[in-house]
Amino acid sequence: MFKRKDLLGLKDLTAAEIELLLDTAVPMKEIITRPIKKVPTLRGRTVVNLFYENSTRTRGSFELAAKYLSADSINISSSSSSVAKGESLYDTARTLQALRADVIILRHPMAGAPHLLAGAVPAAVINAGDGAHEHPSQALLDLFTVREHRGEISGLRVVIVGDILHSRVARSDIWGFTKLGAEVRVCGPPTLIPPGLEQAGIKVFHRMEEALVDADVIIMLRIQKERQQQGLFPSLREYARMYGLNRERLALARKDVLVMHPGPMNRGVEITADIAGGPRAVIEEQVTNGVAVRMALLYLLAGGGAGHENDH
């Protein structure tokens, strides 16, 4: 059973815990393929989406996951709440606790914010992305998607391409895939690769032609235009030329390679349109699976099958 109060990242999870989360998502996916996509599992539970950053897909995904499980959910975003008045995260957390939230889903621009929240409230806290730290539910849906196609993660070669330095998706994917036995490679310009990855067992590449050889999974990251203005690479044109996924590069990977992207995509920059819409891409499946994985998370953390009591 899943014994944790919170899900703050994948780094501290065991392989068995990750497997449990993925296994739990299987019946959840079955629920969302039914004509009536609703079960009463979390009736009477309250889920708060606390979003300090804009997000369409993650927030929508968590919101639907809560609704499909019959939880009551509300959304609080930084533009419409006391956040704009300068209330501290700690005080916001205490307020949500006083409102009797059972689960708080937090998206925040600063790494570690979910840790602060989790320490301040007895409610379960799910990290929906914190700065450049982790985005565990995204990695779980990536793992789920790969497992659906390939049955097993162990022994696969996974290549993550792009802005590793600022990517919370990359970090969560690194932990998730390595814990389940995959080989993880990262590829990007040296200015977008953080130090010390080798210490986590990651192989670092700067040339896609080398990184992609015999890849089973390619995860393309979104490149943000601000990074060019920060001087981290010379131009989007040059970036696309060196790190864009095109047909020639895709041909270096295994024939049954899965191409993934956490979205939103910059078509024509990190990925060409024909690949994004092509047979190897599983980008839309990732979105569907995201709901299933998040239902599993809510179920395990909000009481469904949890081994702990959310006592108030």
């Binding site: 790494a111 570690g112 602060l116 010390g196």
Partner: protein, 422 residues
């Protein structure tokens, strides 16, 4: 008022004296031997270390302007509880100590508090904004012992060069917080494996080392003594070692946290471990220890930086840099450096008293006859677990809570008066 400290192991780094003997104090001064009479206080120091009063050459007392973090009264009370008879306070108050009136105010408040001696450090530039020079000579006359834009490093080499030329005339040392802001830009911890896995922006070692190089080059050129504050990287230690060999007037200090903790202490987003310069890697900690042992690093200073609880109970990026240090320094020096054989007790005493006094030009740090009786007594075997709630400082922001320390101050005497007794 007479006092005899009996039977302690007396450590006087200025003379190299290290012997079990008695120490005589009369009218606030170290005195010749005299016969005890009814009015003579007797202090039994057997089994304890008796040394010149410790001087912390790098603290933030927060007054004026940030009295909710610390005041001169609470900070100096924390100092004597930590075994320090004197502290040099940095000018980043509000208003900034960039003129004689703030310097005079600090000295007046310190005299009123009547605890540890307070030696104000004046700002190098007006408002510590790194542009025009502050009135350095006027501040010097008012009692500023050194000059620094601590926390707001002077980024332009041209400005620093002028300040050094001017300070050379005044015979005052420049204390440099070495940080190239274009390299540190927005960083909140050491750049390395831990910044990567925590997703926090790193401050590379080069941010410090480039500025250490610059200060050494300017000190060599101008002849102005420069003191490197809170040295934290292996590269910086090597630069200072090399500069000293070449006879350049450079000195350096290290903090207890930089010789004890690594960047690993930040894991879990512990804002108590957020400090600038940041906690570095294993090799850096080792290099700082070696630098202390071979006297490349002259002094141990705390960079005592109290903050309010709410200021640190926020997202890591938003928390202010800094940790308190006055009340854990002696315990950390003895636990980490003396009991481990890295420093002799005499060396530790020198780095905590004589050397800071010499760098700042103070007539302190010795047990010579006729000097002010500032004395610290340490029990090297006494153990305690750090409990921030027991601190006298308003700041409880320490990463050492719960740590077992061995070797603690038991008495602090300022000008012949017992200010702290355990």
């Amino acid at each position: 008022m007479k006092m005899i400290i009996k039977g302690g192991r007396v450590l006087d780094p200025a003379s190299g004296r290290d012997e079990v003997t008695d120490l005589y104090i009369c009218d606030g001064l170290i005195s010749d031997k005299f016969e005890a009479d009814a009015g003579t206080a007797i202090v039994d120091a057997s089994g304890q270390l008796v040394m010149p009063g410790l001087i912390d050459m790098h603290v933030h007392l927060r007054e004026p302007g940030y009295e909710y973090k610390e005041t001169i009264a609470t900070g100096t009370a924390a100092a004597v509880r930590g075994g320090f008879t004197g502290v040099a306070c940095m000018p980043n108050t509000n208003p900034v100590a960039d003129n004689r009136y703030v310097v005079e105010f600090i000295r007046k408040r310190a005299a009123e508090a009547g605890q540890a001696g307070v030696y104000p450090v004046g700002a190098i530039t007006r408002g510590s904004r790194g542009k025009e020079m502050a009135e350095l000579a006027d501040m010097r006359d008012a009692g500023a012992v050194a000059f620094s834009d601590d926390g707001h490093p002077v980024m332009e080499a041209g400005t620093m060069r002028l300040a050094m030329q001017y300070c050379k005339m005044l015979g005052a040392v420049i204390i440099s917080h070495c940080e190239d802001k274009t390299l540190a830009a927005g960083g909140v911890m050491h750049e390395g494996y831990y910044s990567t896995i925590l997703g926090l922006k790193g401050i590379p070692a080069s941010a410090e080392e480039i500025m250490v190089s610059r200060e050494i080059i300017l000190a060599a050129e101008t002849g102005c003594p420069v003191h490197i504050a809170h040295i934290s990287t292996a590269g910086s230690v090597a630069l200072v070692r090399e500069a000293k060999k070449r006879g350049i007037p450079v000195t350096a200090e290290a903090t207890p946290h930089h010789f004890t903790l690594t960047d690993r202490a930040v894991a879990g987003y512990n804002t108590a471990a957020k400090v600038n310069p940041p906690l570095r890697g294993e090799a850096d900690v080792q290099a700082v220890r070696e630098g202390l042992a071979d006297n490349t690093i002259d002094a141990i200073a705390t960079d005592h930086a109290p903050h309010a609880f709410d200021e640190k109970n926020v997202e890591f990026d938003l928390a202010p840099f800094g940790m308190v240090g006055l009340e854990t320094a002696v315990g950390l020096v003895w636990t980490e450096l003396v009991h481990t054989g890295i420093l002799t007790p005499l060396q530790a005493a020198a780095k905590l008293s004589l050397n800071p006094a010499r760098i700042l030009g103070l007539k302190r740090g010795t047990l010579a006859m006729g000097t002010a009786a500032d004395i610290t007594i340490i029990d090297p075997g006494l153990e305690e677990t750090v409990d921030p709630e027991k601190f006298t400082s308003k700041g409880k922001n320490t990463p050492f809570a719960g740590r077992r320390l061995k070797g603690l101050p038991v008495m602090t005497i300022v000008a012949g008066e017992i200010k702290y007794r355990r």
